[in-house]
Subunit: 138 residues, 4 copies
Amino acid sequence: MTRPPFPTPESWYSHFVSYGETDAMGVVYYAEYLHLFERARSLFIRERGMSYAEVEQRGFYLPIREARCRYRSPIRYDQRILVRCGIEKWSRASLKFIYELYDEHKQVLHATGMTEHACVTPQGRPVRIPEWLKELFS
Amino acid sequence: MTRPPFPTPESWYSHFVSYGETDAMGVVYYAEYLHLFERARSLFIRERGMSYAEVEQRGFYLPIREARCRYRSPIRYDQRILVRCGIEKWSRASLKFIYELYDEHKQVLHATGMTEHACVTPQGRPVRIPEWLKELFS
Amino acid sequence: MTRPPFPTPESWYSHFVSYGETDAMGVVYYAEYLHLFERARSLFIRERGMSYAEVEQRGFYLPIREARCRYRSPIRYDQRILVRCGIEKWSRASLKFIYELYDEHKQVLHATGMTEHACVTPQGRPVRIPEWLKELFS
Amino acid sequence: MTRPPFPTPESWYSHFVSYGETDAMGVVYYAEYLHLFERARSLFIRERGMSYAEVEQRGFYLPIREARCRYRSPIRYDQRILVRCGIEKWSRASLKFIYELYDEHKQVLHATGMTEHACVTPQGRPVRIPEWLKELFS
């Protein structure tokens, strides 16, 4: 089955696997993938010229409504990995990041995933995604 | 939309939220839910009279192929929560756990989730789920 | 060398080791001990009739100034462990918790540790420990 | 009080603080510092031309016997920090890494710490640190 082309723009986050991310099976623990997704997402925002901290300071929060990860092949200690990140979908008051996790040669696709984010005010009320944010991320 | 009835048997894992599980938003970090799912799953197995360590010693591993979590309302520091866990689906060489995460009064459904597990040999080869395991968990 | 008697009151926190706490060496990762210390400390406060969240609501924070852990023998997946916790020392504006981490039969001392806490206002200014807190914990 | 000069060689590990590392106080959680120490230590070994994985493959493990961290000022979300790492002391069958954690301008010393490691065989028996390891790290 062919996967659809990865959305642009995209960021590639490079990471060395630490002992602290592995478990007794000798591989990266399944919850750690969500940490890696966050790191890739932050890099994506940073590479667009802003930080997520600034987005919050402007009064917009992007809490996660749903997260998914498909684990295809295990990742081991000290491995260098690359996490590709982009935005797959914009809705009125939400957006969806997607992720692909590769070995350092981009030969092995270790995992795929997504996070769906609401856009809310500091009080937690859903709010239309501001234009500047949409332009920044596009 | 009505959700289907929760499968039996089920386990209820009780947990106090620690500082280490929260993030700067003041709520439980999204990756921590997968840790809670694991704790509920281990309790489920333990309450059936075995430990997952024993399952492994008998030559069967249940690595996670997919994980999902739907975050409905945030969980805060020091909150006591309950994680309900059961098996939704058995396939030939895989099974699917589902989870519901409640406040201590079972009034607020904070999150739902699932983990899909393959059944493999110590060498990682997919293998039919043994009858004793199926009986144990049913 | 004999260790001094453990201070009273004390709390015993019981815990099952999860996969998420282990690393590729097959044992509990060294940073996880500090999470366990926090859990034991929270239980200590809870068993005295308060929660740390309430302490904060009354305007007192206890940020950690120093933490130490001495690792004596490794802890494995699925092991049930017990963390003993008490207060070793009170100063004017700080206090020191100590910890002992045992196997479930209290036969093996896996680790010892301490955390030193300042007492500060919500603005972070050091403040004398209030009498009610001292009485509560004694 | 003057601190002694930092030992050479040294490595500087650069890191962006993620949400997953912070807690409800809005700062990096105290256990996360030990993860950062591990990342700095791995970089130190990598910059000397080896990986810790290779050290293990050659039959030598460096399990942690003791860890300490002194928290001087909090670190916040999205902050870029630098972790300085070096070896302070060699003993016959153990060695001691030390750490300094700075802001990105090396103006603020946020924390200091150490980890003491035994040198053991794969079976866990203490063993003299091999000359090649000592030369590599010096």
